[in-house]
């Protein structure tokens, strides 16, 4: 297979996954489940989120820490987009994805640098926010990237 230029590879990624939005490295949510942190905002219409990938950049402090990701729409009902997962044993360099079903935990189920991603075509999200929550206040940093395609004209996602 030929070596494709960077611009062709970018087009290829757009074809597969849509547009990417990267969030800067940050500390884990520290609010003990009281005040979840907005990581991404969906604006001006519905999008299809095709992939969501997190990566641990600084090792997580020991101890249980259940992570949740919730979609809070501007109009409508807030809901988790995946089940909570304890990330206590995850190491620097490990990654997270989601399966696409809201009852499915963050993937992988055990710490790893490899993970199956999104068994569905994606998750439809209405305008609003994606918030990350935790039930503990542990040290550790991570970064997240989201891929999406707009469903409504003008819809887009920004990182917070």
């Amino acid at each position: 297979m030929p070596k494709y230029s960077n611009s062709t590879q970018e087009q290829l990624v757009h074809h597969w996954l849509g547009f990417s939005v990267d969030r800067a490295t940050s500390v884990l949510p520290q609010h003990g489940g009281v005040d979840d942190v907005t990581y991404f905002t969906i604006t001006a219409g519905k999008v299809l989120m095709t992939l969501l990938v997190g990566e641990i950049t600084t090792v997580i402090q020991a101890g249980a820490n259940n992570i949740s990701i919730t979609h809070t729409p501007t109009a409508g009902t807030a809901a988790a987009i995946c089940a909570t997962e304890d990330i206590a044993d995850y190491a620097e360099g490990d990654i997270f994805t989601i399966g696409g079903a809201i009852a499915t935990k963050l993937l992988p189920a055990t710490s790893a640098g490899a993970s199956a991603a999104m068994s569905y075509q994606g998750i439809v999200l209405t305008p609003g926010t994606l918030k990350w929550g935790s039930d503990a206040a542990k040290t550790g940093n991570w970064k997240w990237s989201l891929w999406y395609v707009p469903i409504d004209d003008g819809a887009y996602v920004v990182a917070n």
């Binding site: 960077n6 990654i95 640098g113 490899a114 199956a116």
Partner: protein, 158 residues
Amino acid sequence: MYDNYNESTRQMIAAFCMGMRVDTATITIPHTATTIYYHIHGGKILLTNLVGEIVVAADGANSVHIDHTPTTGSASVIAAAADIDTWLIGDIITLNGLYSDVIFPVVAAGKSSSMAYKGIVLTPGSLSWHSNGTTAGDWKWSLFYVPLDDGAYVEAIV
């Protein structure tokens, strides 16, 4: 009309449908050993498919699985072990995407479902093949991927 496309256009269409392909040479099945077939460099990728093909049949029990060993982070299996004892020349091997699932198909066949997930996210590191037998047999593999980070790419080293 479909026959009118030149080879480079057909390759481009394949890349857009399956991701970029990286082939190994035809190689002997590992003999109770770990052999690295691919390196991931420069950032994360989405492995969109992995297809193996038996070129010379195995001649005895040999359980094979595939592991990802990241440069930083935790190593893990990306496909659970399956015995390829009964596999024939021309049979193919794929995977489902979930690391707890055995390589596909479960029994020898020249056809297989492949990748129920959108793919497998892999951080930089290596993909290695493991076996617990010393049987004869050759195979070749093709890996398909799209880069998730700028500059990420895959290299076959066998």
